[in-house]
Amino acid sequence: MTDEARIAELEKQFDDYVEADNKAEPKDWMPEKYRKTLIRQISQHAHSEIIGMQPEGNWLTRAPSLKRKAILLAKVQDEAGHGLYLYSAAETLGRSRDQLEDDLHQGKAKYSSIFNYPTLTWADVGAIGWLVDSAAILNQIPLCRCSYGPYARAMIRICKEESFHQRQGYEIMLVLNRGTDAQKQMAQDALNRWWWPSVQMFGPPDEASPNSSHTMKWRIKRFSNDELRQRFIDQAVPQADVLGLKIPDPDLKWNDDRQAYDFGAPDWDEFFAVVKGKGPMNKARLDHKVRVWDDGGWAREAAMAHAEKESARRASQKSAA
């Protein structure tokens, strides 16, 4: 049998294996494309957690009370942790942490486009928790059953921790809406700005989503972009009603036949422009990430130098004894 025929046979076995809802683990044989797809997806996901710390970090020193500050700090800490779980999962596929970081810094790797929008007011922190984290949870719950073991296990941990993020955001919106007219207006303005980018978090419409069929077959993805988007909207509309806020979509209407909301088309030209780097904050986010990485270089070197010195000292003590 030729090498190619042998690989084709292994690929077929692998496809059948994961399609039957079995899990793949790091040392198992896997098709090169499966490995590459996962490295791309998991590292993008990790980068999103890390870049996602910036818009909220912007409000850490200006949170309106000590309580809100402690909560926001805990949330941003969680995001750093989530980035770590995901980078670790990506590393099991054979790409090192430094390579993954470098891909981001060189602009070769992407992160979720939503973080390329600015957080202009405190209400944005509420809107992010409510909408962006709701969307993230809907994307992430099916990933807990993804075919790659380390990714699935990381997602289980993340989903468990994510629930407080969503609730604290909704609570911020609730409190603002019980406040003054200016506070209500601030909440409505945040919803107006974050609504469409949140709807776009599920990715392009199914007919324009080139990678989907493979990732579905491999049980990396389980629901299409449009299915998840519909779920998000059906969940968010009654939540906005409880808040007394108006979703900025004139076409939003309950459809009794579908038992779901009809909604307007997001501006996909804007979405792709932001993906390609033309969003209001793309440059600021990446510049900040690279600067912090470079500025921290001395600390990484110093820690390593200290560890090496300590281990040399212990070795010489041992040989002297």
Binding site: K23, F164, R167, Y170, E171, Q235, P238
Partner: protein
């Protein structure tokens, strides 16, 4: 004469695809290869595993029991890390 004692290895078993390796116990062996073989014989006689890790026990850095307080109690008063901390109306679904 003092015979050199075989080093201790900690044994971790993955009981099913999709599950993390779990610590199951330890054993002495002359080297890692022997540790792996012995772990197979001792810990997977009844199909308990699909994958084994052995790690030299001396390479495990563990937290000190007497430092349990400083290590873990700081999380006690951060109840806002739990979703139940937030009071939301009962009629709002999906949160």
């Amino acid at each position: 004469m003092t015979a050199k004692e075989w080093p201790l290895y900690e044994v971790f078993i993955r009981s099913g695809q999709g599950l993390a390796h779990r610590h199951v116990g330890s054993l002495h062996a002359a080297d890692a290869t022997m540790a792996l073989e012995n772990a197979r014989d001792v810990y997977t006689r009844r199909n308990e595993g699909l994958s084994i890790w052995v790690v030299p026990s001396k390479d495990v850095t563990a937290s000190a029991p007497e430092e349990k307080g400083e290590m873990f109690t700081p999380a006690d008063d951060k109840i806002y890390r739990h979703p139940t901390f937030y009071n939301l109306p009962d009629d709002v679904k999906g949160l």
